[in-house]
């Protein structure tokens, strides 16, 4: 189907991207606004010779992903904010056992049961580990339906290369909206799998494999933690991804990710047309946070405006990246509210003329 463009919802594009990236096992539990993803998997996975299970709970779903991954399969689950909170136990175990896997969070309003409107309020949970213990998950933030599809290939590769859970962080709007998607050629889809000599396959012709995070011997758990930290340091060095838009001579740089960056990009385009020196940095990896583009501009006279569908979460990473050397302004709305173009333009103007 390569070359053709197909109209898909973000949730469907994630599912199709995952399947083309070699997904072998999916388990999920119903929750709005990501049900199209689970339904797509239910229809497609068995038909393509793969495993689909509607789990009895979010806990079961993530622990099924743990099991499938332990057995060497590419595995994933998806949910939305309250469901992702429930999955944190399993994600921590996967990190501790060094098991790859992909978790999709199509964020909705919180806290608590919240509502089903789009939100970006789970940034802290996604980028700081989320569950117990000293661990991180790689977090990818698609900004279009095409990227929903494309990033699934990266998600599974990164998970396998680094033996870590990877989170794909979208939101309810991205999941529901429809855009044309171009599929990758079959040659890219059919890459050889990453070897997994650690996987449980039966101890034939080798010593028994054990997957565990319980390490009671003196120093053993510290050694695991050091190994994890070394992996995270490598990820931070090699895997920062971001998009820069119209940064040439920019006096104000908007920082936004996901669907919020779509709005911000349109604002940059229209304000540039009117001569305003505005640009955009859009992180594609939220962890590792792309500090590089900020470090490069440390010495220039630039003001930053961070826009989020939250009350200020990614803004902390922007300030850390800038080491508080430049002014950072924040504007956000949450609980299902989305910052409007008018509100953001007013914020940019205040910075330009302030």
């Amino acid at each position: 189907m390569a070359g053709k463009r197909i109209l898909m919802a973000g949730n469907e594009a994630i599912a199709e991207g995952a399947i083309q990236a070699g997904l072998e096992f999916y388990a999920g539990y119903p929750i709005t606004p990501q049900n199209e993803l689970t339904a797509y998997m239910a229809a497609q996975m068995p038909a393509r010779g793969k495993v689909f299970i509607q789990a009895e709970s979010e806990l079961a779903a993530i622990n099924m992903v743990f099991g499938a991954s332990a057995a060497g399969a590419r595995a994933m689950t998806s949910s939305s904010s309250p469901g992702i909170s429930l999955k944190q136990e399993g994600i921590s175990y996967m990190a501790g056992c060094r098991l790859p896997g992909v978790i999709v969070n199509m964020m909705r309003g919180g806290p608590g049961l919240g509502n089903i409107a789009p939100s970006q309020s789970d940034y802290f949970q996604a980028t700081r580990g989320g569950g117990h213990g000293d661990y991180r998950t790689i977090v990818l933030a698609p900004g279009s339906v095409q990227e929903c599809y494309d990033l699934m290939f990266d998600a599974f590769d990164l998970a396998d290369w680094y033996r870590t859970p990877v989170m794909v962080l979208g939101d309810g709007m991205l999941g529901q909206m429809m855009e044309p998607v171009a599929f990758k050629p079959a040659s890219i889809q059919e890459k050889p799998p990453v070897p997994k000599p650690w996987a449980l396959t039966g101890a034939r012709g080798r010593q028994a494999n054990i997957i565990r995070s319980l390490l009671l011997k003196d120093g053993a758990l510290e050694a695991l933690n050091k190994e994890l930290q070394a992996t995270y340091a490598k990820i931070q060095k090699k895997e920062q991804r971001w998009e820069e838009y119209r940064l040439d001579g920019a006096r104000v740089i908007i920082v936004a990710y996901g669907i919020m960056a779509r709005v911000a990009k349109n604002i940059v385009t229209s304000m540039r047309a009117q001569g305003a020196r505005v640009g955009l940095i859009r992180p594609l990896t939220l962890w590792p946070f792309p500090v590089t583009p900020f470090a490069e501009k440390k010495k220039s006279v630039v003001k930053y405006l961070v826009v989020e569908m939250s009350y200020g979460q990614m803004v902390e990473d922007v300030k850390l990246a800038l080491e508080c050397r430049q002014p950072v302004r924040f504007f956000g709305r949450a609980g299902g509210a989305i910052p409007s173009e008018k509100e953001i333009v007013a914020q940019v103007k205040a910075l330009l003329h302030g």
């Binding site: 096992f25 299970i53 789990a55 622990n63 099924m64 743990f66 099991g67 136990e89 039966g202 054990i210």
Partner: protein, 242 residues
């Protein structure tokens, strides 16, 4: 001359951390013997619980994964679904299988997953210091029932095996014990049946083993075995349930 007795290939020669008189040593060995007799050491993937048997992977010599507390049957479900050619079993205690993991247990059983479950019922939480388990007997004293389990406020011993036996997708449920050599022999037979069912593709099979915990029953190893024989089996009758 025939060899009548040998150390199981599937059991490592590692001293265990179990207390004197604990039933886990017997049960680990029965599983290892069954795995050897069915010539499936290289096909087996086990899921260890959280509880006293959390370190089972230190004692068995085949592929084993840990699972979060109660989630063994969710983990096992996925392993078996992606590797149907392997023999997958869980080894779980009463707290793991019938309290924190009840949901995973019931739904794996109800889906009829082609798995083998070895369920060790010793009526207490051993690892954490002898608290009340779902299977603690009425009146039984534990760390969290210092006056004895009061069924009026703390509920009755949960007969999870009988509950599971009602599900149409569950194919085999048997309760056994290890309080004397004859019972150990029966336990081994049941474990073999539960594994054979998986090999044949029959479906979800569970063996509940009434197993002693002398430490948290406050009894000598011998008295603990006698307590199973004289008291525990009255609440949890032995034999084939389904």
């Amino acid at each position: 001359m025939d060899k009548l007795y040998a150390y199981p290939r599937s059991l490592k020669k590692t001293p265990t951390h179990y207390c004197a008189g604990c039933g886990h040593g017997i049960c680990h060995r029965l599983v290892a013997e069954a795995v050897d007799e069915l010539a499936m050491r290289e096909r087996v993937i086990a899921v260890a619980p959280v509880g006293c048997a959390v370190l089972a992977y230190d004692y068995w010599d085949f592929d084993v994964t840990e699972a979060a507390h109660g989630r063994a049957l969710a983990v096992a479900t996925a392993i078996k679904r992606v590797r149907p050619e392997n023999i997958v079993f869980t080894y779980q205690g009463d707290g793991d299988l019938a309290a924190i993991g009840t949901n995973e247990t019931i739904h794996a059983a109800n889906r009829g997953e082609n798995l083998t479950v070895i369920f060790i019922n010793n009526a207490v939480y051993g690892m954490t210091g002898g608290q009340m388990a779902p299977t603690t007997l009425a009146g039984q004293k534990t760390a969290t029932t210092p006056l004895g389990r009061d069924v009026a406020s703390q509920g009755y011993p949960l007969k999870i095996s009988e509950l599971l036996a009602q599900l149409p997708a569950v194919k085999y449920v048997e309760r056994v014990s290890v309080f004397n050599p004859a019972e150990v022999f029966k336990a081994k037979k049941a474990i073999l049946s539960a594994f054979r069912n998986q090999i044949d593709g029959t479906g979800f099979s569970l063996v509940e083993v009434l197993s002693p915990c002398p430490t948290y029953w406050g009894k000598s190893p011998k008295a603990a075995m006698e307590w199973i024989r004289d008291t525990m089996v009255k609440e949890f009758p032995l034999g084939r349930i389904k």
